[in-house]
Amino acid sequence: MEVHAGPVSEIIARHAGHPEMALVALQEIQAQSGYIAVEAVNALTKALGVPEGELQSIITFYTELRTTPPAQHRICVCHGDSCAATGADRISETVEAHLGIAPNQTTPDCKYSYEHVYCLGNCALSPSMAIDEQVVGRCRPDTVVQQLERASESPAWHSRQDGSVYPPGDGSHA
């Protein structure tokens, strides 16, 4: 399959001839489409002159890169040192009970994916989790479920992305 004309092919064209931009191109493609499709890897191989095996090994090395579409909402419970010291286990137990899945799994309706992460930089307000791009501090088992429900009402996070790594508007200070 070919990559159709559109944002992804524009990203690839912009980095053509620049093998050193492989990681940036992969990140931009993922920000655009939510994941990195096989066709995009093929097109990138040709445009950048980076062998496909090399691109695959880059994708598998970086845990943030994925080759399948993400769930609508991404739940990350922090198990970094500070959160582990303040009850992260109870937060993930609650999340697991509510969603009925284990870490690195996705609910059958593709609504939520769930993973453990190691530090969100929110350690003074531990325990923390991230629901999509929103970090939630001082999590408590009794409020986590409510937070998850609230997330399910908002649109899927990757469909809100504008091609930049972060959702539009939040970097502004106006």
């Binding site: 090994s57 970086y62 845990t63 500070s82 010291a85 303040t86 530090c119 970090v135 972060y166």
Partner: protein, 515 residues
Amino acid sequence: MIDVYISADMSSRSIGARDVENTLRSEQERRGDFRVVTTGSRGAFFLEPLIEVATAHGRVGYANVNASDVAALLEQGLLEGAAIAPFSIGVVTEHPFFKGQQRITFQRCGVIETGSIEAYENASGYAGLRRALSELGPAAIIDQVKRSGLRGRGGAAFPTGIKWQTVADIVSLKKYVVANGDEGDPGTYADRMLMEGDPFALLEGMTICARAVGAQQGYIYIRAEYPRAQAVMKQAVQSARDAGYLGASILDSGFAFDVDVRSGAGAYVCGEETALLESLEGKRGMVRPKPPYPAISGLFGQPTVINNVTTLATIPSIIVDGGDQYGSIGAGRSRGTIPLQLAGSLRTPGLVEVPFGVTLREVINTYGGGVPEGHQLLAVQVGGPLGDLMPDSGLDLPIDFDAFSAAGSMLGHGGVVVYDERTNPLQLAHRLMAYVAHESCGKCAPCRLGSQRAAEILDAMRRGETQPDDVQLIDDIAFAMRGSSLCALGMMAPTPVLSAIQRFPMWFSEVNDAK
């Protein structure tokens, strides 16, 4: 017009500061008698969401505000700085959390409007670069940095001036300055706060460095978990270009330097400088053997200064006030101040900037407020997930790079995580080793296989299946990892596990009554 300040820091927003800000903005539109200014955070996260108001006596604070409190606060005289229970904390800098601190690197963070170049200039921002461009030549800049005694805040505590000198001394058409914003140590957040709260300090520090070593291009590598820091930094780069602080002829001096912001993609090892450079070159973040050091052969094989974000953001103050001034603060060979990031089981954790030399106990008790009522301190881990687990009796150690390494510990990036009795030392040891197994880049067998095997053994132990020679086996693995790993991840990984075994031996013995 009265200025009302609210933090837009990611952490502050994780407990509702965004809602408070939005409510302030709608009240502002309705009343029209004040201005809403967004800042970073000062680091007293237990006070957030914190509203501050500029008054004749200084900035007055209202702590732990909910969005639903805002209208009433305004009615009760918030704009005049009135005392309103239970929110008022008086003049913010007089608060016990801030009173003993000495803020140099974080002098503007949480104070000035973030992302505003005018606010930065009004707070002595870019005075250092102006001085570096007009008064000081490259050699004099490096001399000031050497005099300051500044050592890297990213972990290895290498003298910054010497690193810069090495790069400056090499003749090369291309040189680079790289800011390490990977901040991978769980329990740390100083770099994130700086990038979100005082982004121009980092850019100014990088530009001064570029001037000193003769670099034309800079990169800021920020971990993927910090989307807001990335957004703020990208915008700051654009503003700096627009104002002539970056670009083809900075402040019409003829000196050219520009900066690009890059995102990590979820790999702890990419905080290691050579892995980071590989990642910047678009590859997998595999650690390179050293030598050659990045200063000689770094990004794309060119001489490269790679410094931590906090290190670089400290440079402008050193150039403005002089290296001797900064160097007059501190203890032993640890000069100046260090931002410590308090985390874990503490009553009032937050970011504390103190001169080197105060004791760890003082920091934990005076600023962190000690462990919460009804709990006892189990251990303190300083310097990230590879740091030693210190018992209560070890807390009188002064905050000093060399005192820590002499005690078999490390200060690292200044993370301080406190564990109380609710933490099971065996679980903790397992978690830390499993983390290394997960994050190992896989280049050397002792690290890749050893961490995997040690994590498996610890996993079996915590399930109650301890074998007679398990501790010996872990010891052997630790010996191999320490002796033949390429980078500190593998070399230091055994430290916390061995110190857990040493300090809490009953948890690791075959007949385990503690469990």
